[in-house]
Symmetry: D4
C-alpha cells in the first residue's frame, strides 16, 4: 500500500477526519486502484509504477477492435505502448486510434513511445541461430529497445558453423546480458554461455520440422544445457526474453 496511511491517521488524530470517513478512505484506496475495466479486459494503469513498464498487450487471441481499444486507453494515460503478436489488421485498427503508433513487421509488434523510459546500464546482445529465427529475435529486440535498452543484433550464428560465432566473440563479451534465440536443436545457448560470464536468456523457437515438434526439441535442449548461466523462456517468446533482459539490465 503506497498511499500514506500514517498521514491519514495523523489527520484522524488531529480531528480533521472522522474515523468512519477514514475507514472509508482506506477501503476505497484498496478498492480504487487504477484498474480500468473495459468489460473484456482490465487495464492496469499502475503497472508502470509497480513494475517499471506499463502493461504490455499480447495481441494473440484478441480482435483488432479489442487491441485498439486497449491501446487507446494506455496511450491516453500517457503510457508507452507495446503490442506483441499483432498482425497488420491489428495495426490498422490501432493506427486509427493512435496515429503515432509504429509497426515493426518482422517482429509483428506495435509501439508508441510516449515518454523517456529509464536507460538500461549496458548492452543487450540478441543472438539468433538462423534466418528463420528472426521474427522471434526481432520481437526480443523491439521489446528491449522500447524498454530503454541498447541492443546489439547478432544474427545467423548457428553452432554448425562455429567460426561465424567465434569471430563475433568480442561482441558477446561486451554484453551485460545476452538473449540467444534458436530453433531446431537449440544448442546455441550452451555454446554462448560457455564463452561469457553474464546471464544468458535462451528462447527456443518453433523453427524446424519433424522431430522438432514445434520447438519442443529446442526447448528441451535449452533446459538441459550443460553450461552455467542459462535460463529459458517459452517457445517463440521473444517478448519475454526482451523483458527479462531489460529487468536485468536495469538493475543498479
Amino acid at each position: 500500500m503506497s498511499f500514506d496511511l500514517k498521514a491519514l491517521l495523523d489527520r484522524v488524530a488531529a480531528g480533521e477526519l472522522g474515523p468512519a470517513e477514514a475507514a472509508g478512505h482506506i477501503a476505497a484506496e484498496m478498492r480504487d486502484q487504477p484498474v480500468e475495466d473495459l468489460g473484456f479486459a482490465r487495464i492496469d494503469h499502475q503497472r508502470a509504477q509497480r513494475q517499471g513498464f506499463p502493461e504490455v498487450v499480447l495481441g494473440l487471441g484478441k480482435s483488432p477492435e479489442q487491441i485498439a481499444a486497449i491501446a487507446a486507453r494506455i496511450v491516453a494515460r500517457g503510457h508507452t505502448l507495446l503490442v506483441t503478436r499483432a498482425d497488420p489488421a491489428a495495426y490498422d485498427a490501432v493506427r486509427a486510434a493512435v496515429p503515432a503508433a509504429q509497426y515493426h513487421d518482422v517482429a509483428r509488434a506495435i509501439t508508441c513511445r510516449m515518454h523517456e523510459v529509464p536507460a538500461g546500464r549496458g548492452t543487450i546482445v540478441i543472438a539468433a541461430a538462423g534466418t528463420s529465427d528472426l521474427p522471434v529475435a526481432e520481437e526480443a529486440a523491439v521489446t528491449a529497445e522500447v524498454m530503454g535498452n541498447a541492443v546489439d543484433r547478432l544474427f545467423d550464428v548457428g553452432v554448425a558453423g562455429l567460426h561465424r560465432l567465434l569471430r563475433e566473440h568480442h561482441r558477446l563479451r561486451s554484453a551485460r546480458v545476452i538473449v540467444v534465440v534458436a530453433g531446431m536443436e537449440g544448442a546455441l545457448p550452451s555454446v554462448v554461455a560457455g564463452l561469457v560470464s553474464v546471464p544468458v536468456i535462451a528462447v527456443p523457437t518453433s523453427v524446424g520440422y519433424g522431430a522438432s515438434f514445434h520447438g519442443l526439441a529446442a526447448l528441451l535442449g535449452m533446459l538441459n544445457s550443460c553450461a552455467n548461466g542459462v535460463s529459458v523462456v517459452n517457445i517463440d517468446n521473444g517478448f519475454g526474453a526482451g523483458c527479462i533482459s531489460s529487468l536485468i539490465n536495469h538493475l543498479d
Copy 2:
C-alpha cells in the same frame, strides 16, 4: 588468446627468437591451456578466470572415487569446491581427500571454500512453495552462498494459502533477484513476479504425483507464466538457479 602475441613477435623481429620456434610457441599456447585431463574427466582450471567461479562438479552419474579425484585437483589449485547431487558416500570419499570439505545434507552438496569470492551486490531471496521442495531450494541457497551472495530463505509459501506469501511481501521487495522453487502446478513464480520488478528465476521440482509427471506440470506452468520477468531452469535444478541468480547479483 590472452598470451602476449605482440611481445612474441617483437622478439622475433629483434632476432631473439627464430620464426619456427615462435610458430611452435603459438601452437603450444593454443594447445596448452590449463585443462587437466584425468582420463575420465578434463578439469578446466581457468574457468574461475573466464566465468567468475571455478568448475562445479555434478555428482550425478559419477562414482565417489571419480568425484574425490576431481575434488582433490580443484582444491589443490586453491579453488573453491562445489559438488552437487552428492550422496553421503561421495562425501566420505571427498573428505578423505579434502578434510576441510563440508556436507549440506538437505541440499546434498559438498563445499570447501578456499578463498574469498567477490560478494554479490544485493540479497537473493529463495522462495519455496512446500516442505517437499526444500532439497532443491537448499541446493540453490548453498550454491548462491558459496558463490558469495547473501541469501534470504522464504519457505512453504505456496499459492493455495496466499496470506502466507503476502505477509512476507516486504522480503520479496527487498531482493535484487528472486529464485522461486515449486512443484505440483508450479504457480508460485507467476504470483511472485506479479508482486515485484526484479528478475525471477523459476525452478520446477519433481514434487507431486500422478499428472505432475515428475515435474513436467510445474515446468510447463512456469514456461507459460503470464507474468513478466520469469525465466526457467530444468526440473530440480537448484544449482542452476543459484548460479544464474549469482551471475545477476554480481552484475555491476
Copy 3:
C-alpha cells in the same frame, strides 16, 4: 423402470390381461423408450426427466443440416434447446427450423428456452484469467444461465496482477460454486480455491502458444493444484463446467 409393473400385474391377476399379453407389454416398455432415431443420431427425449435438463447438442463434427434436424425435434417436444460449438452457418440452419432460437456469438452457442427450468439455489461465479479466455467462459455462462442459474461474470483477473482478483474477493465469497477459466499456466483455480470454501470447477483453455501445447500446460497445472476443492474438466469445455456447476447449484 418407471412404468407401473405392480398395476399391470394387478390386471393380470384380475384376469383383465392375459399373461402372454402382459409379458409383451413389459418387453415393449423396455424397448419403447422415447429415443427418437434420426438415422445419424438418436435423440433421448427422456433425458430432461432423468437428468434434469434435455439433451444438449454438441455442434462440433455435425453438419448444419444435422444440427438443425436435431434442434427441430427437441423443440418440437417442448424442450429447451442448447447447441454448443455452433458456428454462424449452424445458426442459420437452426433459425430456419426454429425461428425463436438465439445466437450467443462469443460463446458460439444457440439457445431456445421453451419452459421455465428450476432455479439454482445460489450464484455461480465464472472467473476468467484473460481476455482470450472469454469464449470458453461465455460458453460456461450461457450454459449455466439456460439451465436456470444466476451467473456473476468476473473476467480478466489473472494471477500476475493479484490485486485485480483480491479486490473482487467479496464476489468470490458470495458464490455457491465457482467456475475458473484459464489458459497459459492455469494457476488461477489454485489461488481462488485458497480464498473460498466452495467447490471450484477449473476449465483449462487452449489459450497460449509454444509450451502451452494447446492447453496441456493449463490442464496439468489445474490437475496438480495444491489447493483443496478443485476439480477439472476438459480443455475448452465451458459447457461441461456450466453443466456441473448447475448440477451442484441445484442440489437441495
Copy 4:
C-alpha cells in the same frame, strides 16, 4: 481483514491511541496471522475457519519426523488431524506424539478426530471399478468420513460386467454426490454419470500396465467423458475427491 479497523480508528479519534501506534497495530495485524512457522513448514491454524476443515498433511515427500511435528501442532490446537500418503513409519512417529491417532492401512491415512465436524447433508457414494483401485477409493472414503460425511462404498463394479453396476443402481440413485475411482480405461464415470443427475467426481488411478502409462489413459478418458456432470482430479488423488465431495455435500 477481520479485525475491527473501525474500532481502532475510533480509539485514535478518541485520543486513546496515537496514530503511529495505530499504524503499527494495523501492520502487526497483517503480519500476525496464526500461521505457525516450523522452519520447514508453515502451519495454517486458521484454515478450519476459512475453509471448513483444518490443514491436511500430505505425507508424500516429508520425513516421519516432519509429519509427527506438524501433527502434534495441529492436535495441540484442538484441530482434527488428517495425514494422507502416510506409511507405517510415519504412523509410528505420529502415534508417539499423538497417542489417539488411528491408522487406516488400505487408505494409507492417519486420522485423529478432535471435535465434531458439521455433518454433510446426504450420502457420498464411492464407487470403484476394481480391487486394485481400493487404496485410492479408501483414501477418498476416509477423507470424506473424517470431514463429517456418510459414505456408501460400492467396490468392484467395472464396466466390463455392467450387471454388477446396474443391480446397485438404487444405491447410485440415493447419493447426493458420487466419487468414481477407476484405472485402466477409466470408463466407469461416464456410465455412472449417465445413470444419475448428481455431480460425479472422477478419480483416475495408476492401476494398469503398458499403455495405461501410469494412469494417463484413465485420466484422458475421464476428461473426455461424453456424459454430463463429470469433473476430474489428479491421478490417485483420493483425498482430493473426498474433499471436494465433502464441500459439495456440505452446501446448504
Copy 5:
C-alpha cells in the same frame, strides 16, 4: 512358389529342357511375379489370390491422377476396386477412367465391384458411439460390404445413455464379429465386449477436442479395456476394422 517345379524338373529329366534353360526359368519365375510397376507404385495383382481380396488403394497422400491410374489397372485385371480416403476430386478422376465406379460420400470411399466375392458366414455389427463418428463407421461398413459381408449398422449408442445400447442388445448378440467405433473417451468397446462373447474390433476416432488429443484418449482407453475380447486398430482406421472383421467373418 506356386509354379510347378516338379513338372519343370521332369522335363529336364526327360531331356525336353536343358539345365541352363531350366535354371533361367526358375529365376525368371521368381522375378516375374505379377507386380505391375507404374514408377510411383507397384500394383500387386496376385494379392486377391494370396490374401482373399485385391489390393486396396489408400487415397491419402496420392494425387487424383495417381489414384485413377492405379484404379484403372486394378479394374483392367477384373479385380474389385476399393479406394479409401478419397475426396470428390479423386472420384472425378477415377470415374473418368472407370465409369462404373461409385462414391460413398460419408465413408469417403470409391468402389467398383467386378465379381462376386465369397460371402462371409455371419453378420458384422458396426456400432458407433456418436454422430460425429459416422465417417469412420461408414468406412468400416463399406469396406466390409465390398468384401462380401452382411453389415448391421448401430449408430449413436454411446455409453452416457446406456439404455440406447441395452435396448439393441439383441442385435449385438446376433453378430459374428462386432466393430465398435468411438471417439472422446472410447469407452464403448469395453461395455459392448462385456455383453457378448464374440471378437470386438475397436476403432478410436479423432472425434473430440482438448485432451482427446486427436484420438489419443480414445486409443489409450481402448487399449486398456478391462473387458476380454477387444483388439484395436489405428485412430480413424475404419478400413482396417472392416477388413479384419471380414477376415474373421470368412473363417470356416
Copy 6:
C-alpha cells in the same frame, strides 16, 4: 433375463401367485444374479455362461491372500482357474487353497483345469520376435491352451533375420489365427500379415530400451501397420491376445 417370466405370469393368471409377490420375484431375480461379493471383489460366476470362459483373475495389484480367496471361490464352483501376472508368492497362497493348481513360471500364470472346455477349430500360431519376448508370448500360449486351443509356438523369428521367419512359412500358413509378439520396433506383425490371409493379433512388448519408451515404439508401429488384418492389444498383454485368438478360433 433368462428366468421364465412367462411362466411366472402364468402362475399369477392362475391365481397361484399374488401380483405383489410376483413383482417381488421379478425384482429379486434382477438383484439376485450369481455375483459373489467378497468385499474387495465381486466374482461373476455366470461369466462362463455369458462369455464362454469363467472369470479370469489379473494378479497385478492384488495381494496373494486376495488372489487365493478369489481362486478358491472360482474352483469351488467347478470353474477352470486362470490367474495372470502371478508371482511365486501368489502361487504359494493359491496352492494352499487349491492344491491342484499349476504354475507356469515363464508365463507367470496359475491354472487349474476343472472341466473340458470346448475345443477351438484350428491352430493358433504364437510367433515371438526375440528371446526377451517369451514371457508375454507364453502368457498368450498358456491362456489359449487353457481355453481349449491347439497352440504352435514359433519363437525368435524377428524381421532382421528374415530367413528365420520365411523358412517357417508353412507353419504360419497352417494357422487359423496368429498372435505376433514383438518389442523394439514391432515390425513383425506387418511382415507376418503380408504372408497370410488370417487375422493377426499383435502384442507389443516393453522389451527394448531408450526410445522404445517401455513398449510405446512397438505399440505405435503395430497400430500403423501397412498390412491388412492386424489388430493390436495393450503392451505386454499376452493374456488379451490369447483370449481374443481363442474367441476367434471358437467361431463356428
Copy 7:
C-alpha cells in the same frame, strides 16, 4: 588456420614485416574469413572447401526474396546451388536471379550445377516404402545426385508385400550405402538392413494418420530397429539422408 603463419613469421624475421603489422595480419585473417553477411543471413563461402559441398539453403521459413538473394550470391562465387523445401514461388524468384536454376517438383528442390563435383565411389540405393513417401525419397535422390553420386531408385517396396522387395534383392546388394524412406510403422529399414552389410540411413516420413503422430511412430520404429547398421535422420529429412549417404559414398 590455413593461411601460412610460418611464412609470415619468416617475413617478420627477415625484417620485411613489422611485428605490429604482422599481429594485425593474423588478427585480420581470423576475422576475415569469407563469410558474407546479408543482414538476415551469413553465407559461408568456404564451406565447399571445408565440408566438400557448398552451403545448402533450407527454403523452409525463408521468403522467396531471401532465398533468391542467397542463391544469387552462391552462384556468383561459382558454387553449385541446392535449395530444399522450395515452393514454386521460391523457384520463380530464384530463376529471375539465376536463369540456369532447375526445379525438381516432386522433391521441391532447386538446383544449379556450376562445376563438376567429385564422383562418389559406388551407387546409393534409395528405397521408399510407399507412393506417398516419394517427395522425401526424391529430395534424398536429388541431393545425392547434385553431390556427385549415382542413385538407384527403388520405390513402393513396403514390408507388407515382401516379395516386392525380395525380388529387387540384387539391387540392394549392389549398393555402397542405402537410404530407406518409410512412413507409417517404419519397418522397412530393419528388413533391408537384415539383407545387406552396408550402412543403412533410415528416413521416417510423416506419411500416415492417427497414431502415426506425424511420423513419430516411424521415427521410433527406426530408432529401435533390431537390425545392425541402421542410423536415423529427422522425420521427412530427405536432404539429410542424401547428404550423409554422399559423405559415406565419397570416403576413399
Copy 8:
C-alpha cells in the same frame, strides 16, 4: 541362394539325380540354413558370412544361463563373441562356458576374439561430452575394436567448454568416421559435424535429469541437428554406433 542350382540341374539332366529327389534337395536347401534353434533362441551362424560379423548377443532381458548357452554355441563354431549389456553375473556364467572370455566393465560387454576380423581402413574417433557418458562411449569403442577398427577415444569435450574440443581439432580431422556420445542437451554432434567432412554417428545418452526425460532431450536435439552429416541411433545405443561406424570404416 548360394548353393549350386545349375550343378544340381546338370546332374538331373545327366540322369544322375531323379527330378523328385532334386526338388527335395532344393526345398531342403531352403529349409536347412544354419540356424541353430535352442528353443528360446535361434542362432544365426551364417551371419558372419552375410553381414561381416557373427551374431551379437544383447544381454538385456536374457538370463545369465541363456546368455552363456548362446555364447558357448557361437564360440563353438569358431566365431568371435560379443555380448552387450552384460552384468557381472552374466560374465560369470559365460566365463564358466567360455574361459577365454573377457569382461569390459565400463562398457558392460563380454568379448572373446576367435579369429582375425578384417581391419577397418581408417580410425574411428569416439567423442563423449561428459564423464557420465563413458559407459555408452566405451560400449561403442569395445564394439568397434572387436570388429577390427582402430579407435581414438576423446572424452569430456562438451560444448560448454568449447576450447576443450577445439584443441583436439586435429584428432577429429584425422578420423574416417566419428561417433559422438552426449546426454543432456545433446549439442556436441552439431558442433563436431560443423568442423569435419566425414560421417558423424550421434548417440544420445540417458545422462541428465528432469527435462532430459531419460535421453529424450538429447535424442531430439541430435535429430534436429542443423549440421550436415549427422545420423542418430537409439538412446544409450553405443553398440549400434560402434557397429555402424565399423560398417562405414570397412567400406572399400
